[in-house]
């Protein structure tokens, strides 16, 4: 087993375990923290694919900014087991069954997809994820979607300020 494989299996196990912990933690604060761990594991996968920029941006944006805001909200609302609405047993069983069915469909879809079957993840050769190449691609081939996204961001920011403003 090569180092890459060991790292891959370790990171995958970590990602799945922490994702499950997000779901089954009773305390919302723990859920948020486990989600941060999940993001770290996924960033690790990005690094294995040599997409360093994506990995670090994933950490800065999701773990560093968005999850901190989540943590803010959860701490200020002081959510805990006592005032969280308890779901009935049947509801939980139905949730597990439908979630499991979805997982099965999803896995079989990914395994059988024609587009994915012949492709192998480039763990060492790929360098499209490096910041230089990514920047070239973004500003040459995908410049229109990129600019549209920035307009979308701007409108979201303006919207947030309008909503947050006292009147």
């Amino acid at each position: 087993m090569s180092t890459t494989e060991i790292l891959f299996f370790f990171l995958s196990a970590l990602a799945i375990f922490s994702a499950i912990m997000v779901l089954i933690s009773k305390n919302p604060i723990y859920s948020v923290l486990w989600l941060v761990v999940t993001f770290f594991a996924i960033s690790g996968h990005y690094i294995l694919l040599n997409a360093q920029f994506l990995a670090i941006v994933n950490i800065i944006v999701y773990a560093g900014a968005i999850m901190v805001l989540f943590l803010f909200v959860v701490m200020l609302m002081n959510l805990n087991q006592q005032n969280e609405p308890q779901k009935g047993l049947w509801m939980k069983v139905a949730g597990v069954v439908s979630g499991g069915c979805f997982l099965m469909v999803f896995v079989s879809l990914v395994r059988q997809a024609v587009d994915l079957r012949t492709k192998v993840a480039m763990t060492t050769g790929g360098d499209i994820g490096l910041i230089k190449n990514l920047g070239r691609v973004l500003f040459n081939d995908y410049v229109v979607p990129f600019e549209i996204t920035s307009v979308l961001f701007l409108s979201a920011m303006v919207g947030a300020i309008v909503m947050g403003k006292k009147d």
């Binding site: 604060i29 670090i56 941006v57 560093g64 901190v68 943590l71 803010f72 701490m75 200020l76 490096l130």
Partner: protein, 348 residues
Amino acid sequence: MTLLSLDMLLVLEKLILIIIIVFASLGIALYTTFAERKVAAILQDRPGPERAGPFGLFQPLADGLKLIMKEEIIPSSSNKALFILGPGLAMTAALMTCAVIPWGSTVHLFGREIDLQIADINIGILYVFGVVSLGVYGIMIGGWASNNKFSLMAALRGASQAISYELAMGIALIALLMTTNTLSLREIVNQQMAPGHLWNIAYQPLGFLLFFICAMAECNRTPFDLPEAENELNFGYHQEYSSMKLGFYLFSEYINMIMSSAIMASLYFGGFDIPFFDEKILPQNMAALVGVGALLIKIVIFIFIFMWIRWTIPRFRYDQLMNLGWKSLIPLALANMLATGAWILYHG
């Protein structure tokens, strides 16, 4: 059967480097606490700690021993797991930054070329940003887990302050990166060492000023130490902490200070470059060692400036802090970025 195809010597080399750098940082941080008290004493015209050992040099050891020997108290109404996790996270985030700082050029030892840097990754400075943005977790988790309203309020203040100033810091940095064309800290330093190229401070004076102010805010140093404003919040986010957990929080502040000084020295002041001197005339190992010394001197100067400001300027009010961050620093940083962009477009 080979289980792992790794260059074991490389692993060993990096491991030794990590151990040296981490312990050196801790050692310097230990004596930074002493320096802080001495600088405060000098600025306030009093002798400062002088009893333990010659010139009071053993004072930090006595302080550390005192912290370790104190009773460990975990409040019964706190969230125990997170209460313990908080200081650990603060310390880890503080120490993780040292991985990408180039501490010196290359040393030639035992037939190997050893870079005095743990990892030269091509996203170096973004990595620093990622780690800095994680530093908030230590404060927030510790403050919330203490189950004390003052701690929680301090933690919220600390987190919002860190997020606000990170923005201005990032924009100030973008302007610098536009001139350097690389994110690797080692390459940035090498560019500044090249003959005919001045230190980046000459090209980005406003950017440096903004970066410096934001770094001060990120380290929670006075005048930005709102999270530990005693007169409003008793003691801040680490109010419920005692013994070495409190020590970790206090210590991580000093480590943050050292790391941000090292980053500023590398980004704007040539890193391990010695001014007005060509390192190439020295033998390789000698040049590397002298370079490490030069970087350390720059770090010490920055730390002194941090302390000087702490003991001179009083603390901001909270609204002043937010106004400065959002209404002054961010517009200035944006203007700096636009000016740099225009300059590159027309002259570059």
